[in-house]
């Protein structure tokens, strides 16, 4: 008996082991070190599918930075040139040349990488022999003028200048223009420390400078100071209102002792192919001007004070029990990819928030936690770029670049969003259905399906979809059509019912006049008593 049992056990164990082994080979994958989520209509976070997964991380050595200290190599910078990045503050992807540019801040050099992140150029000095000092912002654009040189704009932080140089070769930059502290009364700040830079098609240069809160400093092509561009506003909080009240009563001396309420300068910006400049502000949990889309006149298109409800970053501060710390959103970089998707990087949580053209949240990925040695979690995420459906995040403390690639869900979702944003709702329909099959709680899919149904005139179906997504405005639009259709269909019936009702009331009042009551003991006045 015992023996039978034992042999049975053996077989069972072997079988289980085999099953376990097989299932292990099937399921051997590393999950992302975070859970994907998204916000619904009530700004509650709901679980979602991963739209991106971590593809790989690339360190300086893997880029080929060891070539920089190799005297035999054409890219030789010096014997002691470090083979790793050091606190790289900015990264830019040039979509025309398909090249990455990295401002390797603490190594005082600029790196140029191809789209596979292999080193193809390195620069640590200009043609006039001056070196960089903590370059923290970089922007590259091919000029539309003359013989179309490739211009690089560098925010040379500690040298207090913005450099415009033409890229001559893989290790040669020719200085074209130097923008220094504007010598006018308009510019009131003592220092000029540009941290980020972009340029538009007319080669106007915009520089974000530390402690300049009137907006970006704008220079024209010939290097003349043009003024400030797109200042943030002061966020109205209780303390701001209180201080405004106190100012009414305070004496001049007291007022001069008070802190001034000034807007927060923005942290970073990006320019899209339409010439719109997108800015992010790194102040914690700000709701005013967190992300702005500025037109060339500096007017914010995504303005909540005109009745819109644009929201960026995490809605509520998040408490992380494992770190005993509360995170609040601090948006540090924004990147507009050529397919119109907007990626916003949150420094404090290490999350990338992806939005479509209309600032609708698409997905959230990335993290920052105690185990930031793990791939996909960040320590000091400094910059985000997008290319070829991948997202690149550079970390200034881990000194590497993390590459996120689209999952199937992400690819489907992006395809559908692309069609949706173009208004091709019916074409997006099968894709949205596929998206729902993968994530049944994805709100935008239901809106997309609803709009498709609305376009095809299936109003009740559209109403159902909009109700699922809890999209009141679109529901309202569909309801209007549905109501119209209902009235058209049942017009005769409604008229008949109304007519019958009118006739009935008419007859009733005639009968009442004659003293005949259909319902006895009617409400209202009693019969007058005798003698009164």
């Amino acid at each position: 008996m015992l023996r039978i049992k034992n042999s049975f056990k053996k077989i069972l164990c072997a079988g289980l082991a085999a099953v376990a082994a097989m299932s292990m080979t099937l399921d051997a994958f590393a999950a992302e070190p975070y859970r994907s989520y998204i916000y619904d209509t009530w700004n509650d976070s709901i679980p979602s599918q991963n739209a991106y997964r971590i593809d790989k991380t690339v360190t300086g050595y893997e880029m080929g930075l060891s070539r920089l200290s190799d005297p035999a190599d054409s890219l030789f910078l010096g014997e002691k040139a470090s083979a790793r990045l050091s606190n790289a503050k900015d990264m830019y992807f040039d979509p025309d040349e398909k090249e990455f540019w990295i401002a390797d801040t603490d190594n005082n050099r600029i790196l140029r990488l191809d789209d596979e992140l292999n080193l193809i150029g390195a620069y640590n000095e200009l043609s006039d022999g001056s070196h960089f000092a903590a370059p923290s912002g970089i922007y590259v654009k091919r000029s539309l003028y003359d013989d179309k040189p490739l211009y690089i704009y560098i925010a040379d932080y500690e040298n207090s200048r913005v450099i415009k140089a033409s890229v001559e070769s893989e290790n040669e930059l020719k200085l074209v223009q130097e923008y220094t502290r504007p010598d006018t009364d308009l510019y009131t700040v003592e220092t000029f420390n540009p941290s980020k830079v972009v340029a538009d098609f007319a080669e106007n240069v915009y520089a974000v400078c530390t402690s300049v809160n009137q907006g970006a400093v704008q220079f024209n092509r010939s290097g003349k100071f043009q003024g400030y561009y797109g200042a943030n506003r002061v966020e109205v909080t209780a303390s701001v209102i209180a201080q405004k009240l106190w100012r009414k009563f305070a004496s001049n001396e007291q007022i001069s002792g008070m802190t001034r309420n000034v807007p927060v300068e923005y942290a970073n910006f990006d320019i899209d192919e339409g010439g719109f400049i997108y800015t992010v502000t790194e102040a914690a949990n700000t709701t005013t001007d967190a992300v702005k889309k500025l037109n060339p006149a500096g007017y914010n298109i995504w303005d909540n004070s005109t009745g819109n409800e644009y929201k960026f970053g995490d809605i509520a501060s998040e408490y992380d029990p494992s770190q005993n710390q509360t995170y609040s959103t601090r948006l540090t970089d924004i990147c507009v990819s050529d397919n119109g998707l907007i990626n916003v990087l949150d420094f404090s949580t290490g999350r990338v928030f992806q939005y479509d053209r209309n600032a609708k949240l698409l997905c959230i990925f990335g993290t920052k936690n105690s185990t930031n040695d793990q791939r996909g979690s960040f320590s000091n995420p400094n910059a985000v770029e997008a290319y070829n459906n991948n997202i690149y995040v550079i970390d200034g403390s881990k000194n590497d670049i993390t590459i996120y690639s689209e999952t199937t869900f992400g690819a489907l979702m992006h395809e559908a969003v692309e069609l949706y944003d173009q208004g091709r709702y019916s074409e997006a329909k099968p894709i949205w259905e596929n998206v729902i099959a993968r994530d049944g709680g994805y709100p935008m899919a239901y809106v997309g399906l609803g709009k498709a149904a609305l376009n095809e005139g299936e109003y009740s179906k559209a109403l159902d979809y909009f109700e699922t997504a809890y999209d009141q405005d679109d529901y309202d639009r569909a309801f209007k059509y549905a109501r119209e259709e209902f009235l058209k269909k049942n017009f005769t019936a409604i008229v008949v019912v109304l007519l019958v009702l009118v006739v009935f009331l008419f007859v009733l009042s005639k009968l009442h006049k004659k003293g005949i009551y259909l319902i006895k003991g009617r409400f209202g006045k009693k019969k007058k008593r005798e003698g009164r």
Binding site: L463, F479, R483, F523, R529
Partner: protein
């Protein structure tokens, strides 16, 4: 003078804001039963407003439905109002009895209830462009009820207009006090209960050894 059924008196009060409640008082009319029914319908109207408003107008957090806050907002507030008003106006030489205060207050709530229910029905047929109707109904119901409430309290206590307003503001303060004390009492009793329960568990463990 007037001779009405109880419901007729209700109608008279509502449609004659100036003299209605004076007549009611003069004739010693008003039914407690109807008043309680009205309060019940206040609760029903509030539930309907929360749950049955048309989708395009319903801005409530519909994921969860908890009936307790609605009971508090209707029934409990109503009774606190009556108790508060009674305690204030007794001190301010008002002539109303507690019964009268309850009945008159309930009667003056009717326009609000009716407008809320009509609003809920309308919201199922209208679109957001026509939301002006809903807003108008809200203001109509609220305003009418407030006018009636002032008149009811004035007639009930035989006050001047300004004294009525002062007494009503004081009533609101009294309501706050009552609710505060009630919550305090509730939490205290909870602690007493927890204390007694802990003693019981302690003893139970000791006995079992």
């Amino acid at each position: 003078m007037y001779e009405f059924t109880p419901v007729g008196w209700l109608k008279h009060c509502i449609f004659h804001p100036v003299e209605g409640f004076e007549d009611l008082r003069w004739k010693k009319q008003g039914s407690m039963k109807i008043a309680l029914i009205i309060v019940f319908f206040l609760f029903v109207a509030m539930v309907a407003d929360r749950q049955m408003t048309g989708f395009q107008f319903n801005n409530n957090y519909v994921k969860i439905f908890n009936v307790v806050p609605l009971i508090v907002q209707s029934v409990v507030y109503y009774f606190t109002w009556c108790v508060g008003n009674w305690s204030i106006c007794t001190l301010l030489e008002g002539e109303g009895t507690f019964r009268k205060i309850s009945i008159y207050s309930a009667y003056s709530l009717v326009p609000y209830i009716v407008c809320t229910i009509i609003k809920v029905i309308f919201s199922n047929f209208l679109v957001q462009e026509e939301s002006i109707w809903i807003t108008a109904l809200t203001y109509l119901g609220f305003g009418w009820s407030i006018v009636l409430m002032i008149q009811a309290m004035r007639a009930c206590h035989q006050y001047s207009f300004s004294k009525t307003l002062i007494s009503m503001v004081l009533t609101l303060v009294a309501m706050l006090l009552i609710l505060f004390l009630a919550i305090l009492l509730l939490s205290l009793f909870q602690q007493v209960y927890v204390f007694i329960y802990q003693i019981y568990t302690e003893i139970a463990y000791r006995i079992r050894g």
